[in-house]
Symmetry: D2
Subunit: 138 residues, 4 copies
């Protein structure tokens, strides 16, 4: 299985008045890591988006478990696994960790949508092939 | 059952380059609505927080289903139901709607934590009482 | 002179670990108020944007003075004045206030850009007329 | 003069429906770079904050010139210069660049505040010394 690691530093913008990272910000951290995962497959989301006429991944379902809180200046690592690719969706397991300890666990399902109109689409064959090749390498 | 309604307008800050509301922003909309729900119970989170020495609600688990996308200038409504109160947690069902149609559905479990240290705590009795009174009014 | 007033509540998402509103968030509050100001003139930015093929206001220069801090749960008011309209730009003075006291003062210059390509454009005549009519009403 | 360079990648969260980076997000990019600048001086803001009982830098005045827009996937660099240190404030010039071209220029004045109460304070002597040592190295 491919496991992708991505570092994230916590800045003031990420924290809230409780002194911890605001709960929705972990979704942003996770999305940065998925973007880098996809970039590592040789795919640019900017190219895919094609100035609004192309495609994008869209989150269709999320499950998030918050176990511990991150704080200002923490150096975190997002650990990402692609666990399933179907015709029109993909599923990722992600963990946001600090010193190897899980802080937040996410299960993320992505659909593929046409940006012009937002309709769900099937993954273009070349993209699906590349994702599946990656899974077969496990 | 108490059903709480809260309007939210979509501004540029909420959107992304796909032309739609960025997926983590719906969590912020939902949190605004829970805050207003709690305010309606006569509770100020700022007082509870007590300059960092008090308490706060912390999201411990989230399930989010994304069905349709909101866009710039949309007038949304967050519909919030408090469905369970235990000793140290509460659970909410929330829907983010546009013209009565569900765009995003959330199931949110909150724990109660001491801000000084971030340890989970039990809900103070007076707060639990007030929440339970609300539930009994169903 | 037209003076536009817009209320803004401070939520957890707006605060940082210093217990106050994060400095860039006031720019978002100011933008919401300008959007509502423009909406009051009968203009929808969503229509103007025309799915990415139209136009948008873009901030070209900002001066911001931070005098006092806002905190969680504060009820603020953004006070907006349109002070100048030129062929391709407009200038606003904005104050973010709490109980009538200035917290943050902004001087904002906006340009008008074509979304497809991002080039500066001149204000369409009908829009310029509407803005000037407003100014003349002082 | 010390010149500090810090890379920033543009993600979906940073963009808006105009297809470009939302204007207030550049302030966040600039703050990340100042934080890393200060970290390079051997100062941890988390330690300084001391759980809300210590100190923080607070932006007291900003001037921002927006020249060009950044887009999704862009690799940017924040170039930071500390240009002045007084008893209770410091001033930075920052440029956000892409391929060596300026997109956004910022002039930022920071004050030093006590987190418990938010009052302006003088820079502790050891911190002021460290900053001045850096400036003298020009």
């Amino acid at each position: 299985m491919i496991i992708h690691h991505w570092p994230v530093r916590v800045y003031w913008e990420d924290t809230d008045a409780g002194g911890i990272v605001y709960h929705s910000v972990y979704l942003n951290f996770a999305e940065r890591a998925r973007t880098e995962f996809v970039r590592d497959l040789g795919l640019s989301q900017h190219e895919l988006a094609d100035g609004g006429k192309g495609f994008a991944f869209a989150v269709s379902r999320l499950e998030v478990d918050y176990k511990k809180s991150a704080r200002l200046d923490d150096m975190l690592e997002v650990v990402t696994r692609l666990i399933e690719v179907n015709g029109a969706s993909a599923r990722f397991d992600q963990r946001i960790t600090r010193d190897g300890e899980d802080l937040v666990k996410l299960n993320v399902r992505l659909g593929f949508v046409a940006l012009d109109g937002g309709r769900p689409s099937r993954l273009p064959q070349h993209l699906r092939q590349r994702l599946n090749d990656r899974l077969e390498e496990r």
